[in-house]
């Protein structure tokens, strides 16, 4: 359990990372670029896969990000960068968790319950974050196939109702809007920053960087397919369809006879999502372990602290979700640019032998 194998990493990149992009992002993209929603998502997927490639080139050294930075720039600089990364991961966790909280309140109950209904998530997250980060590998072994089943299930129920002609004519929103949409949806593409924390725990396999990138692109392709079906089903009213993956299959003709059987797959996706949402927090706890030392008491304490603060934020920001989203995704999108693209790309220079094969 001390190491995450290449297979487990690929499961994460191809099957689990896309799951977080199926909740609010589709409606957000429609809001920004209308029927061109595939373009900004594709741009982000391509850029992020490049960042993933850069981070994974460091796996061969079998050293943690902290050690790599410390070897190049000294321990003080390493601590500062890791502390910043820790703060970023916490920041990056806000949107997915708020998303999840709204999802739970709106989808799991017929009535609109209190935000406290979401509180048990933090108990689970507290428990999980107190475990070693490398246990995620084994979880991904199980969650990967489950995510595939759920994704295929949801798509199978909805693809019949999709009119892909709605995506045409492509590109009418203009290049500027497309890039603006890409910038505003950057917050959903933080996977490379998480990979930085996983360095040192990933098992090296020849070609891991290239394959990792390809698997990420595969996951990205699944997201694009989902977006295409989503817009194909809802067309102009897609803007109003927040929590996309829970809505996309509701027009399936068998529902009148079988009930909302699609909920089985939706719940399965929500199950996978619970793990995905707590991952930035887990990475945050791992950073704290590296910065302040770990132990049987310390790690659960970090986990408790991180989750308690996030819980408080969720309660506070619950009613001002839209305003929070505007600030995080629109105004402060450059933070994501810095930590999810620039930092991973720059991390390539941490390699000792620049000409080694990936």
């Amino acid at each position: 359990m001390n190491r995450i194998s290449a297979r487990q990493l690929f499961f994460f990149l191809a099957c689990i990372a896309p799951v977080g992009k199926l909740v609010l992002m589709p409606a957000q993209l429609v809001h920004d670029v209308g029927n061109d929603l595939l373009f900004p998502a594709a741009i982000n997927c391509l850029l992020q896969s490049g960042a993933v490639f850069c981070v994974l080139t460091l796996v061969r050294s079998q050293k943690s990000f902290y050690t790599l930075v410390a070897e190049r720039a000294g321990r003080a600089a390493a601590k500062i960068i890791l502390a910043l990364l820790m703060l970023f991961l916490f920041y990056a966790a806000i949107m997915p968790i708020l998303e999840q909280s709204l999802l739970v309140q709106n989808i799991f109950y017929d009535t609109l319950p209190s935000v406290l209904t979401f509180a048990p998530f933090f108990l689970f997250s507290l428990f999980l974050c107190a475990k070693p980060l490398s246990c995620r590998g084994r979880l991904w072994d199980l969650l990967g196939p489950l995510a595939i089943v759920a994704f295929v299930g949801v798509l199978a129920f909805s693809v019949g109702q999709a009119d892909f002609g709605a995506l045409l004519p492509a590109g009418i929103s203009g290049v500027g809007s497309i890039f603006k949409g890409a910038a505003r949806s950057l917050g959903w593409f933080c996977d490379s920053a998480i990979l930085l924390v996983l360095l040192g725990k990933l098992e090296y396999r020849k070609g891991i960087a290239l394959r990792g990138m390809l698997f990420y692109l595969l996951g990205g392709a699944a997201v694009l397919l989902f977006l295409a079906v989503f817009y194909g089903v809802f067309s102009d009213i897609a803007l109003r369809q927040i929590f996309a993956f829970t809505k996309i299959s509701k027009y399936f003709s068998g529902i009148t006879v079988l009930g909302r059987i699609d909920f089985l797959f939706i719940y399965l996706l929500a199950f996978v999502m619970a793990f995905y949402c707590s991952l930035p927090l887990h990475a945050c706890v791992e950073c704290a372990n590296l910065l302040f030392g770990d132990g049987k008491v310390k790690t659960p304490l970090y986990s408790a602290a991180v989750n308690a603060v996030m819980f408080s934020l969720t309660v506070l920001l619950n009613l001002s979700f839209l305003r929070t989203g505007e600030v995080i995704l629109y105004k402060l999108f450059w933070i994501f640019l810095l930590f999810c693209l620039l930092l991973p790309v720059l991390s390539v220079f941490l390699r000792r032998t620049p000409h080694e094969k990936f």
């Binding site: 194998s5 017929d110 246990c135 009148t256 909302r260």
Partner: protein, 482 residues
């Protein structure tokens, strides 16, 4: 030397007898003195209810009455007709042997005693175990006698590589515990680790092998099962042939196997005697039955309380019709029915067989039928709990864990709804994934994914595909057959 402080046999019969009597003051421990033809004085100590006196007379006393040799231990031993005998001088050991049913022979002029194996063995007949029933395949089951149990194993594994090491557990019970493994197959590290854990056990008595599990697992307080159990020697042998260590305890018909993988309990011995497609089907059926048993009552409650959309319209109307006059809330109603089921279940196991039939009638007909017609509980609740009750027994070895999980799920579903079920399942998954004993992950080969071992997990491949031992167990010899 004072007989009170004496620790070993001295050769002075009176002193030795006194010392041994002091160690064994119980009234059912007898000593029987006699002389040989040349006048050598002998004394036999034995525990009355445990020793076969007829055998003792035949194999020990009768030959020695005619004995004309010297008091040398070797010579005396050669004159006995008992095949099982051993020289021993420590008084504590001798006392232990007497208490175990083996008589101890002392005689004048010799500083060693002979322990003779004429123990009387009270055993029940070897029968088919009630917990491990198979339509096809061997029907023998372990019994309470460890020697017979080891012989059942030896009969199936006629190889010198089979190692059976006897250990003694229990400060007062001195229960024999047999550690069984196949040399060259089972990882030595696993054997050493289990042996050292067994040796460190410090308890008063060992009534059953299940007492050992607490000392052998990494998370003793976990709800999850972490030790394999079986009552059948064929399963036991198959498991140790895969690279596991088996443990038998005297007085217990239940054998333990380690390391344990969760998929083991979804497999049945019969799966190996029927075509692989049938075996795969029944394994998946067991898994589905277990999932339904745990989740169905919980989802029913969650759907009723928080998300009615989950029901198809017609089913919703039927349910609405049947619950409209029920005075209890859905979760309370379900808990009540579950409580009644658990009580009936518990009572039917404990009560005499003769009243069992009456209980079934009272439980199933009177309680069920009357409760519905009186409007206490609804028909769907009874149907769901009944199905859940049956479903749990599709995997009987996990019943302790699964019945508790069902109750927890029910409570969570009644309070938080579906999202609670999802989160608790996620919590369970983390527990399952992070549990590991003797280097074997509990959830292997599903997590970590071991491609090779998937051939005999939830789906069973043909015999030819199973030529290698499970990778998760890290056995030293990888190939099982050509």
């Amino acid at each position: 030397m004072n007989s009170a402080t004496q620790t070993a046999v001295t050769g002075n019969l009176d002193t030795d007898a006194d010392a041994l009597r002091r160690k064994l003051p119980a009234q059912d421990i007898f000593s029987f003195p006699f002389r040989s033809e040349r006048g050598i004085r002998f004394l036999v100590f034995f525990a009355d209810p445990l020793t076969d006196k007829e055998l003792l007379g035949e194999q020990v006393v009768r030959p020695l009455l005619r004995y004309e040799g010297t008091p040398a231990a070797a010579q005396v031993g050669e004159n006995l007709t008992a095949p099982e005998r051993r020289a021993e001088s420590a008084l504590d050991k001798l006392a232990e042997e007497v208490l175990a049913g083996n008589p101890v022979l002392l005689w004048e002029g010799m500083d060693k005693a002979l322990v003779v194996g004429t123990k009387k063995v009270f055993v029940r007949a070897i029968a088919e175990p009630t917990t491990d029933v198979a339509v096809k395949g061997p029907r023998e089951g372990f019994i309470e006698d460890i020697k017979i149990n080891t012989s059942l194993i030896r009969r199936r594994l006629k190889t010198p590589a089979l190692r059976i090491e006897m250990l003694n557990v229990g400060r007062r019970s001195h229960t024999f515990v047999a550690l069984c493994w196949l040399d060259g197959i089972t990882p030595q590290k696993t054997v050493d680790e289990i042996r050292s854990k067994l040796r460190r056990i410090d308890i008063d008595i060992l009534p059953d092998s299940s007492y050992l599990t607490h000392f052998l697992i990494s998370r003793p307080h976990s709800l999850l099962k972490q030790v394999g159990t079986t009552e059948k020697p064929d399963i036991f042998c198959a498991k140790i042939a895969e690279g596991r260590v088996g443990i038998l305890a005297d007085g217990s018909p239940i054998a333990l196997t380690l390391p344990y993988l969760l998929v083991e309990d979804f497999q049945s011995s019969e799966d190996y005697f029927v075509p692989s497609n049938r075996a795969s089907f029944t394994r998946i059926l067991r898994l589905l039955a277990l999932f339904c048993a745990i989740y169905l009552p919980a989802f029913y409650i969650a759907a009723q309380l928080f998300k009615l959309q989950l029901f198809p319209v017609k089913l919703l109307l039927t349910i609405a019709g049947s619950i409209q006059d029920i005075p209890l809330s859905p979760s309370l109603e379900m808990l009540l029915v579950l409580f009644v089921l658990e009580v009936i279940n518990e009572a039917s196991i404990r009560m005499p067989k003769y009243v069992g039939m009456a209980l079934s009638v009272v439980g199933a007909l009177v309680l069920g039928e009357t409760a519905v017609s009186a409007g206490f509980v609804s028909t769907p609740a009874i149907i769901i709990i009944a199905f859940s009750g049956i479903g749990l027994y599709a995997v009987p070895n996990l019943i302790e864990t699964t019945s508790t999980l069902r109750l927890i799920m029910l409570l969570i579903a009644g309070s938080i709804g579906t999202y609670g079920i999802i989160l608790f399942t996620a919590y369970l998954l983390v527990c399952l994934v992070t549990t590991e004993n003797y280097g074997a992950p509990l959830l292997a080969p599903l997590s970590p994914l071991i491609k090779h071992d998937l051939r005999d997990a939830l789906v069973k491949y043909d015999f030819d595909a199973l030529s290698r031992r499970p990778v998760a167990l890290r056995s030293r010899n990888k190939r099982r057959h050509a």
